[in-house]
């Protein structure tokens, strides 16, 4: 990276006849999010002929050309991966190999540059900041970000990576290491500008999050940068699901209907309502839980007189497809499900309902065949007495889609139990034992106010303010035991948080997305973001 003395190779160019100019098209907008277009003009491609060809080829966006003509005519000599290539970025010279530059992927701008003919030795000029480019070049060379990257904001790096078309490499290098609950720490708290108490949220695969707070939805991208906020007509959104990259399905426990909002335009693009056809009072039902598969959205609707049902909504038309699981809602056994999860492998819909009354917790877990709407398996608690833990009904339950396992936390003992979804029976539960001695002393018995969430083959349990994780110990011996049925010794329990963390408030909801865990607490502004890190975070005490 040295400054180029002015004129040193400029004069050289003047006497050359054959050239391929890659000219910069005049920028009409200044945003670097816009996509680049190239215009190549070729005067002559032959070194032998001294007569300049009159033919001019002009076309747009050649880097994606895949037809043979352009490949053969314009790029007669392909670079070999070990060939070197020179780039002049904003006045600084960089030299790298074609292989490095091609690692940006077929869509990147640099890949397009590497397709220039070999006989053209002049560095290509790119009118961008050389310092950020050097960071991104290190990224391509080593697949990691150098420490100099800390001089730039995440936003700048992301913008520049979009310009060079290597956003996916940057995402891979910037995202935190794989999330494990045993070594996570709180990195930031996302706080919206107004109405900061999260009422519902949903995390995306890339670590982005859509956060409903009051009647607003705020979106934060994979860098956790605020991408925008919209206002819905609902006063409080209590369930949200991202059914398309730009479309959210929202429901409220205080207002009727399931509503679809387009995030880019901020518009309501459709509403689904359900009324109990057998009831003379036409009360529109409210939505308690939303799940979605690749083609459908499932939502549990609940009328004010407790009659409830699950609607299947077609994702492409946003119209009701079918209805199943309708029930009276007259007792705890047939209240509306408050949690719905789609299990893609089996095509089953998992639903659960928990009700806390004067006599303790009661509820049910049910699995429906989404096509027929039949109940495949169900468990009601408190049950018929066949259960080994009669009277210790669950406080919350969640299902691990990857492992086809189900976990519940008991309301009285606070114990965690698991069940294999492939071997469900009358009493499939295996109770996990707490063998961590440091956890024993900390007697916070009872499972009231517990939430449970399965993510990445780990089970996260929020008990009051504390956050704990149950994870498996990888061991070959244990694997054989799995064959024979789940072993209760497989899981180890650890605290994710510190005592100070737990004092911030009662954990309300946990959700995992990307390599992040998002935690919201009752009556606390903002959402906590937990991540793993490989840096030691050593503190100097000199």
């Amino acid at each position: 990276m040295t400054p180029i003395p002015a004129g040193s190779y400029f004069e050289l160019d003047a006497c050359r006849r054959d050239f391929i100019t890659t000219e910069r098209v005049f920028p009409s907008t200044k945003t670097n999010r816009s996509l680049p277009v190239l215009s190549l003009s070729q005067a002559s491609s032959s070194e032998a002929s001294l007569l300049p060809a009159t033919e001019q080829l002009q076309f747009f966006s050649p880097p994606l050309m895949d037809d043979e003509y352009s490949q053969n005519v314009l790029h007669p000599h392909h670079h070999q991966p070990h060939d070197r290539i020179k780039l002049n970025v904003g006045g600084k010279l960089f030299e790298t190999t074609v292989a490095t530059i091609r690692s940006g992927g077929p869509d990147s701008l640099l890949e397009a540059l590497s397709n220039r003919p070999t006989h053209d030795q002049d560095p290509v000029f790119i009118d961008r900041d050389p310092e950020i480019f050097s960071v991104l070049l290190s990224l391509l060379r080593s697949n990691r970000l150098p420490s100099t990257a800390s001089r730039f904001t995440k936003q700048e790096l992301a913008d520049e990576a979009v310009y060079y078309g290597i956003e996916s490499q940057l995402k891979a290098a910037m995202s935190p290491p794989p999330f494990t609950g045993i070594d996570a720490s709180i990195v930031t708290t996302i706080r919206p500008a107004s109405d900061g108490f999260p009422s519902a949220f949903t995390a995306g695969e890339d670590g982005s999050i859509w956060l409903a707070h009051g009647g607003q939805i705020s979106s934060y991208d994979w860098n956790l940068l605020h991408a925008g906020s919209i206002r819905t007509h609902l006063e409080v959104i209590t369930s949200i699901r991202r059914v398309y990259p730009e479309i959210a399905a929202v429901g409220s426990e205080t207002a009727a209907g399931l509503h679809f909002y387009d995030f880019s335009s901020g518009r309501n693009i459709g509403s689904i309502h359900w009324t109990d056809p057998s009831d003379p009072r036409i009360y529109k039902a409210r939505v308690n839980a939303i799940a979605d598969s690749s083609s459908s959205v499932f939502a549990s609707f609940d009328c004010p007189h407790n009659e409830n049902s699950i609607l299947v909504i077609d994702k492409s038309t946003l119209q009701i497809q079918s209805e199943f699981g309708r029930q009276r809602g007259s007792s705890a056994k047939n209240l509306v499900p408050g949690k719905l999860t789609w299990l893609p492998e089996t095509g089953l819909l998992f639903g659960s309902s928990v009700n806390c009354g004067a006599f303790g917790y009661s509820g049910y877990i049910r699995l429906w065949d989404s096509r027929s709407g039949n109940v495949v398996w169900e468990a009601n608690e408190p049950g018929s007495g066949r259960s080994s833990r009669f009277g210790d009904s669950f406080a919350d339950v969640d299902v691990d889609e990857e492992d086809s396992t189900m976990f519940k936390v008991c309301s009285k003992s606070g114990d965690l139990a698991m069940a294999d979804l492939r071997k469900l029976g009358d009493d499939p539960w295996v109770y996990l034992q707490d063998k961590n001695p440091s956890m024993m002393s900390n007697e916070s018995r009872g499972g009231g106010n517990s939430v449970i969430h399965c993510y990445r083959k780990q089970v996260f349990v929020g008990r009051e303010g504390g956050l704990e994780v149950w994870s498996t110990v990888p061991d070959r011996k244990m694997c054989t035991e799995i064959e024979n049925g789940v072993s209760e010794g497989l899981y180890r329990k650890n605290f994710v948080d510190k005592v100070e963390d737990s004092e911030r408030g009662v954990i309300e909801k946990i959700d995992g997305g990307g390599d992040r865990l998002f935690v919201s607490r009752q009556d606390v502004e903002g959402i906590e973001v937990w991540e793993c890190s490989n840096s030691s975070g050593a503190v100097s005490v000199l």
């Binding site: 180029i4 002015a6 004129g7 190779y9 004069e11 160019d13 003047a14 100019t21 890659t22 000219e23 910069r24 098209v25 005049f26 920028p27 009409s28 907008t29 200044k30 670097n32 680049p36 190239l38 747009f60 966006s61 880097p63 994606l64 904003g90 006045g91 869509d107 990147s108 053209d120 002049d122 290509v124 000029f125 790119i126 009118d127 900041d129 001089r151 730039f152 904001t153 936003q155 700048e156 913008d159 979009v162 310009y163 078309g165 956003e167 500008a193 107004s194 109405d195 900061g196 009051g214 009647g215 607003q216 705020s218 906020s229 919209i230 206002r231 007509h233 518009r267 459709g270 509403s271």
Partner: protein, 469 residues
């Protein structure tokens, strides 16, 4: 997203070196930079960048030399290339950047990247700055320019903050207290008071009165200013005679300050209350080229008022709304939403009236508890309501409500045959920002909102976080 998809779109900086090429090499303080003529030309025709790019490369052997700090130059070069300030600008004081941008002649670009009205994100506004005012007077009036300069009148002084809110200057006026203030340009403001005769046009840089505009009323008494408004062409002032027996709205050319027209001249005979109310708020409705003038009067039988829409050219009233039940305590108009908004003085609730419905007997639709309309409690006293963009900001006590319209896919029609519009409110700010003393003024400029409170000798600035700073 594939960055090189086959969409027609522009900027792309790569180019080969040719004698006739448009690559420009510049030597700034000993450091060499290379860029293209196109990038430099974005600085504008009067900038130093444009002049550097016009030097023919064949005419000189060495690169043009600029004797300035290369670090600052690289910031402006990044600004030209990407349209955004790089993060290293954050380490520098904004004053240095502004000073340097004036040297290069690219201050408009800097203003654009830091205080552009298009960066105003209503949902993302946070209380971010406090601008202290010296002395003991609380602000009485506030005015903003489109690029975000803020003028604050406190007592007999006017303090002006520049667009970056980093510099201020204070001038003394002849008023005891300024009641209405309007920014004509970043350095010129119109000021008036309800206890002082004449509308003064003040030069805020030098502190002198450029001009005093008076209304020659019949009684030959003084003429006090009740409200000031403006359109791109005109300056409006609502005058009342010192004896309070006549009032009118004068229209001036905003550039020459020559009197253009006099509309709504009322002389008070007998006990006709309605004509005795001078306009206390003037809003220009650019979509329909009308001036909205509103005024209210508090009497023994409650508060009554009127809202009139004036056609400037003919001097006629196009629409008039008489406010008897739950009169407005403040009223505003939104061009984008084609709607008038008011806060009811009794109910303290927000109402809207669709332009298309102004002829109806009661065009107001209550956005809150309708039953409070008839209460005599006057909960709405002191509430302020202002529109900016497509949002409505309403202050109630120490809090600000943000009202926005939710576009719905299926619309219901109400009694008037118009579709029912959905407006929803949010309380602005985080928990720690809520409350505080009563809000006396709300103003919008650039990407920020300025708020003054009763008894507080400062101006609160609400901004959404901007890139770079």
């Amino acid at each position: 997203m594939p960055p090189l998809a086959r969409t027609a779109s522009p900027p792309f900086g790569f180019q080969q070196n040719k004698a006739e090429s448009n690559i420009v090499t510049i030597d700034v303080g000993g450091q060499l930079f290379q860029t293209t003529k196109q990038t430099l030309s974005l600085g504008g025709p009067d900038s130093l960048f444009a002049r550097v790019s016009e030097v023919p490369s064949s005419a000189q052997l060495s690169a043009p030399f600029i004797d300035r700090d290369p670090d600052l130059f690289s910031i402006f070069l990044s600004l030209l290339r990407t349209g955004n300030l790089p993060s290293k600008a954050k380490d520098l004081d904004l004053q240095d950047l502004i000073f340097e941008s004036q040297f290069y002649g690219v201050e408009p670009l800097l203003v654009n990247s830091l205080s552009n009205p298009s960066q105003f994100e209503a949902f993302n506004l946070e209380k971010s700055l406090i601008l202290p005012l010296n002395g003991r007077d609380s602000p009485s009036a506030i005015a903003t320019t489109p690029l975000g300069s803020v003028h604050v009148a406190h007592g007999s002084k006017i303090t002006s903050f520049d667009w970056s809110l980093r510099k201020k200057s204070t001038i003394l006026t002849r008023f005891n207290a300024v009641d209405s203030l309007l920014a004509i340009s970043p350095s010129v403001a119109a000021a008036g008071a309800t206890d002082f005769s004449g509308l003064q046009i003040l030069d805020l840089d030098n502190g002198f009165i450029k001009e005093t505009l008076n209304w020659e009323n019949v009684t030959r008494s003084s003429s006090t200013v009740q409200a000031i408004g403006s359109s791109p062409q005109f300056l409006f002032a609502s005058f009342e005679s010192g004896r309070r027996n006549s009032n009118c709205i004068k229209v001036y050319d905003i550039h020459t300050l020559e009197s253009v027209a006099e509309i709504g001249h009322y002389e008070i005979y007998g006990a006709e209350l309605d004509s005795a109310i001078p306009a206390t708020k003037l809003n220009w409705v650019s979509a329909s080229n009308l001036l909205m003038a509103s005024g209210s009067h508090s009497g023994p039988s409650g508060v009554s008022g009127n809202i009139k829409f004036w056609d400037i050219r003919s001097g006629n009233v196009v629409w008039e709304l008489k406010e008897k039940v739950d009169c407005f305590s403040d009223v505003t108009v939104s061009d984008n939403l084609s709607t008038i908004f008011k806060v009811g003085v009794n109910s303290g609730e927000v109402f809207y009236a669709d332009f298309r419905n102004l002829g109806a007997e009661n065009p107001w639709v209550c956005l809150g508890d309708r039953r409070k309309m008839i209460s005599g409690k006057k909960e709405g006293i002191g509430c302020k309501i202002e529109c900016h963009g497509s949002q409505v900001f309403c202050s109630k006590g120490g809090n600000i409500e943000l009202w926005s319209e939710v576009p719905m896919s299926c619309v219901k029609n109400n009694d008037d045959g118009l579709e029912e519009r959905v407006f929803r409110k949010n309380l602005m700010g985080k928990v720690k920002d809520l409350g505080g003393s009563r809000i006396t003024n709300l103003a919008f400029g650039g990407n920020k909102m300025a708020v003054t409170r009763q008894g507080q000798q400062n101006v609160e600035v609400w901004q959404s976080s901007i890139r770079g700073f």
